[in-house]
Point group: C2
Amino acid sequence: MITKNDIKFIQSLKQTKSRKENKMFLVEGNKLVDELLSSNFKVEKILVTDLWLEKFPEMASRLPFYDIISQKQMEQISCMVTAPGILATAHTPYYNISPADAENEFIIALDGINDPGNLGTIIRTADWFGIKKIVCSRDCADAWQAKTIQSTMGSIFRIEIMETDLKEFISASQHLSISATPIYGALMEGENIFTKKIEKKNGIIIIGSESHGIRQDILPLVTSPIHIPRAEGSKTESLNASVAAAIILATINN
Amino acid sequence: MITKNDIKFIQSLKQTKSRKENKMFLVEGNKLVDELLSSNFKVEKILVTDLWLEKFPEMASRLPFYDIISQKQMEQISCMVTAPGILATAHTPYYNISPADAENEFIIALDGINDPGNLGTIIRTADWFGIKKIVCSRDCADAWQAKTIQSTMGSIFRIEIMETDLKEFISASQHLSISATPIYGALMEGENIFTKKIEKKNGIIIIGSESHGIRQDILPLVTSPIHIPRAEGSKTESLNASVAAAIILATINN
């Protein structure tokens, strides 16, 4: 049974504050709920409408449990313009990504990525290229909001993501490792990413924010400056943050 | 003087139908109006509010002409949640991209890219890598709508873009050229884009739609199937369309 208070609580999870306090988030739509159910995430509730049940009997038969709510209630809790008719609540996982991990694999460090669409797209791209760990500065968009989750297309359930003090995290990676862990960052005077030799698939890849790039107090931590060369004569000032991230991840990893 | 009818007309340019009929479009915000003014586009009107004039006297002094309208009128014609206070109308240029051009340069062919953000991001990325010509299937998002133009960050003023019958266009490129013009398309069984040798920087690069990839009747036209390899074990089904486009443009061009 779903009470009025349940609806009120679920509705509150649209807000970052409530998601952080309750360590829970919302997942909407067939594809994403499907991906949630095949993940290790702890699912709390699955809510569907009668209309959804009629339309998707096959998927309904696969749901481990669910409650039926009215169309009006669904519209109240949905984050989308048109409510897809199925919404689940789940517990936010806790990941402990250690700076020492960068000795043996790539870690992406997002510095102030504040567009949820860009954040989600970067998570999806990381998943494609097999990069499993992402650390975010505290002013990044919230990974557990609807817009981000939609943009990940389900990759959010397969990537470890942690909010942290980026400067501390990156600095720590330098003290912890025996050999020097490379810290990659896109800078104008960096080395051409298409010709740079990557010796070992490890280190931290910093992706700067949409408007300011990598922030001033993090810049000195970059040990391997890289650069995506622009065509001669091009007047574009920058690439979209998720596009720049994708080109870096693709070339560094291949 | 701006009349009520002028406002009504400008407001109509929010709609694709009116933009196509009148061959005009809207440009909003300081950065984009600046880029418009330094382009060869024919500008019709520049509208500002008193508040904008107070805030940006330097830019105001650079405007070749302008009319002042009320905040209320600005909100009526603005496409943005918060109206930036400056909006221009301009004439849509006519570009004639010929299939024969693909003999000597890259042309991007967009097959049903229907998200305006993706379309704008692809235009911006093309501009970065010095690709000057984009042809769009008729079911692509409209390049002259506010969301696309915003996402291009001004690149829309530097790239030639043309709507066309993609199948006809690509087929024609094969008959016209003396040597075979390569037609690149991302397919699962394509050649690894990171190891493929690109002999000459020319040909047509097809980018498939967000949901269906390259459509069935265009697939047989691909002569150089390519592939962005996914990490072993990754369960992601696909990359975002503008991310896939960026990785292809970056690697093919460098």
